[in-house]
C-alpha cells in the first residue's frame, strides 16, 4: 500500500521534474550560446532580455493578448455550437447530412492561410479573423460529435424505443450524453485550432490598430527587427495555447470523471 503510493508519488514528481529540467537546461544553453558568441539581440536575444521585454512591453502585449484571446474564445464557442448543432442536424436527417457534409470537408481540407486573404476582402477585419478561427476549429467538433452520436449502444436504443421514447428524448437523453466523450475530444482539438486560425488570419490581415492581436505584434516586430518582442509575443501565444488545452482537459475530466473509462485511474 505505502509502496504503491511512494512509487506513485515518484512517478508524479518525475512527470513534473523531467520536462522542467529539460526547459531549464534549454534556457541555460540558449543563454550560454548568446553570451559566448556575443550574438546581438537583433539576431538572437538572450532569455533574460526576452523576459525584460515581456515586462517592459507588457501594456502593448497585454492588449494584444486580449485581442487574440477574444477571437480564439469566440471562434471556439462558435465552433463548438456550430459543430454540435450541425452534427445533431446531420443525425436527424440523412438528406441534410449528404447535402452538406462534403462542403464541411472541403472547408476543412482547404488551407485556411489561403482562405484568409479572401475573407479579409469580403468581411470587416474582426469578422474575417473570427471566421478563420471558426473554419479551422469547427470540423473536429462536427466529425467527433457525429461519430459519438452514431455509436450509441444498439440495445440501449432498442430500450428507448420499447418505452416509446420520442425522437427528441432519444436525442437528448441517449445520443447526446453517449456522444459526450467524443464531443469533448473534438472541442479539445478545436481549442488549439481556434488559436491557430486566429493567428493565421491576424498575420494575413496585417493592418495596425487598437484591436491588433499577438500575431500582428509578431509580424510588426519582425518588420522593425524588434526580435526580443517577437520572442516575448511568441512566448505569450504558446502559453495561451497551453492554458487553453489545460482548461479544456480539466473540463473533460470534470464531466467524465464519474463514468467514462478514459477518466478512470486504474491500479495495476
Amino acid at each position: 500500500m505505502s509502496d504503491a503510493t511512494t512509487s506513485e508519488r515518484r512517478e508524479q514528481a518525475l512527470r513534473i521534474l523531467a520536462p522542467t529540467g529539460v526547459l531549464a537546461l534549454g534556457i541555460v544553453i540558449w543563454d550560454l550560446v548568446v553570451r559566448i558568441n556575443g550574438i546581438p539581440p537583433y539576431i538572437l536575444p538572450s532569455p533574460g532580455l526576452v523576459l525584460t521585454t515581456l515586462v517592459s512591453d507588457w501594456p502593448i502585449l497585454w492588449s494584444s493578448l486580449l485581442a487574440t484571446l477574444e477571437t480564439t474564445i469566440e471562434g471556439l464557442a462558435l465552433a463548438a455550437a456550430g459543430g454540435i448543432g450541425l452534427a445533431m442536424l446531420f443525425n436527424q436527417s440523412r438528406l441534410i447530412e449528404h447535402s452538406l457534409y462534403p462542403y464541411a470537408v472541403i472547408l476543412q481540407v482547404t488551407p485556411v492561410v489561403a482562405i484568409a486573404p479572401l475573407l479579409l476582402i469580403y468581411l470587416p477585419q474582426q469578422a474575417a479573423v473570427l471566421a478563420c478561427a471558426w473554419i479551422v476549429a469547427f470540423f473536429p467538433v462536427l466529425a467527433n460529435t457525429t461519430l459519438g452520436l452514431n455509436s450509441v449502444d444498439h440495445n440501449l436504443a432498442d430500450l428507448f424505443r420499447l418505452y416509446g421514447a420520442s425522437r427528441w428524448q432519444i436525442l437528448y437523453e441517449l445520443k447526446l450524453p453517449a456522444a459526450l466523450p467524443q464531443m469533448l475530444a473534438g472541442i479539445k482539438i478545436a481549442g488549439g485550432l481556434s488559436l491557430i486560425g486566429a493567428v493565421v488570419a491576424e498575420i494575413a490581415a496585417g493592418s495596425a490598430g487598437a484591436g491588433s492581436g499577438l500575431a500582428y505584434r509578431i509580424a510588426e516586430s519582425g518588420y522593425r527587427l524588434n526580435i526580443p518582442r517577437m520572442f516575448a509575443a511568441l512566448l505569450l501565444l504558446s502559453l495561451t495555447g497551453i492554458v487553453i488545452f489545460a482548461l479544456l482537459s480539466w473540463l473533460t475530466h470534470l464531466v467524465l470523471r464519474r463514468w467514462h473509462e478514459s477518466a478512470i485511474a486504474r491500479e495495476s
Binding site: 432498442d158 420499447l162 418505452y163 416509446g164 421514447a165 428524448q169 437523453e173 467514462h260
Partner: protein
C-alpha cells in the same frame, strides 16, 4: 368477458422472420405465453429464440404470421425487457437508470422516487442508488437492469439470456432471486436461455426450439413446487434436466438430419 387464469397473454401464430440478408430466422412459430407462468425458450445458439423474444417485445416485426395480445391496448406498456448485457447508461447513476422508463413515460422524479427505491430494495441495491454502473460488479449491474425492467410493474417480463455472461456463483444467486421476484410480483416471465439447468430450475414450462429456421421442437412442463437450493440438488431436478437435455439433443439432431 373475463379472461380465464391460464389464457394466453400473448399468442404467436405462424410467425416467420426473414432478415434482409436472406436468413430465415423463424418459420411457422406457434407459441402461447400463459398468464403468470415462467416460460423458458431453450435452444442452441442461432435457433431464433432471441428473435422470437424481440418480436414479442415489438422490437422486431414478423415477416409472416401474427402476434396477438389479450389486452392489445396495454400490450406495449406492460413489457419489461432485460438484455444479455446490463445495457445501462454509463453516464447515469443507478437511480437515474432505473428512473428511465418512468421518465420516458413523462413521470416526475420526485413522484417516482419512492417506487424506484422500493424496486432497488427488491433487487438488493437500496444502498447503491447513487453509484455509477462502472462502480458495480457484473452481477449488480444485471440487478440494476432487472430493477429497471420491473419499475414499471410490467405484466410480462422478457429476458434474453440475462445471466449468460456471469460467473456460476452469481448466476445461481440471481436465479434464486428471480424465482422469488416472480413469486412475489405475480408476473409472467419469458426467459431465453441455452442452459438446460437454468431453464429447469426456473421454469413452469420449457419450450425447446430447433434452429434454421427456428420453430418449436417440443414442450416440457416442470411441476416442482419449491425452487431452492434443495431442488437444485434433488433427484427430481436431475431427472428433469435429463429429459430436457434429451429434448434439446433431439431438436439439434432433427436439424442436422434436415441439413443432410
Amino acid at each position: 368477458m373475463a379472461p380465464s387464469p391460464s389464457a394466453p397473454v400473448v399468442s404467436l401464430r405462424g410467425v416467420g422472420k426473414m432478415f434482409g440478408n436472406g436468413l430465415l430466422a423463424l418459420d411457422g412459430l406457434d407459441l402461447d405465453v400463459r398468464d403468470g407462468e415462467f416460460l423458458s425458450l431453450l435452444g442452441p445458439s442461432g435457433c431464433g429464440k432471441s428473435t422470437a423474444l424481440r418480436i414479442v417485445a415489438g422490437l422486431s416485426e414478423p415477416s409472416r404470421g401474427t402476434v396477438a395480445w389479450r389486452d392489445a391496448t396495454a400490450a406495449r406498456r406492460s413489457i419489461g425487457f432485460v438484455f444479455q448485457e446490463p445495457t445501462l447508461m454509463p453516464w447515469a447513476t443507478v437511480f437515474a437508470n432505473v428512473f428511465l422508463p418512468l421518465k420516458l413515460a413523462g413521470s416526475d422524479k420526485a413522484a417516482a422516487a419512492a417506487r424506484i427505491m422500493e424496486t432497488l430494495a427488491r433487487v438488493g441495491l437500496a444502498d447503491f442508488a447513487d453509484a455509477y454502473p462502472r462502480e458495480l460488479s457484473g452481477g449488480m449491474r444485471m440487478r440494476v437492469s432487472i430493477a429497471r425492467a420491473l419499475v414499471t410493474a410490467p405484466r410480462v417480463l422478457l429476458m434474453d439470456e440475462p445471466f449468460a455472461a456471469l460467473d456460476e456463483i452469481t448466476r445461481f444467486k440471481l436465479n434464486d432471486d428471480l424465482v422469488t421476484l416472480w413469486r412475489e410480483l405475480h408476473m409472467t416471465v419469458v426467459f431465453v436461455t441455452h442452459s438446460v439447468f437454468e431453464s429447469v430450475f426456473l421454469s413452469n414450462r420449457i419450450v425447446v426450439m430447433t434452429g434454421r429456421p427456428g420453430r418449436v421442437s417440443s414442450e416440457l412442463a416442470i411441476d416442482a413446487p419449491a425452487r431452492d437450493a434443495r431442488f437444485r440438488t434433488s433427484a427430481e431436478y436431475a431427472s428433469y434436466c435429463r429429459v430436457a437435455s434429451e429434448a434439446l439433443g433431439q431438436a439439434m439432431r432433427a436439424r442436422a438430419g434436415m441439413a443432410i
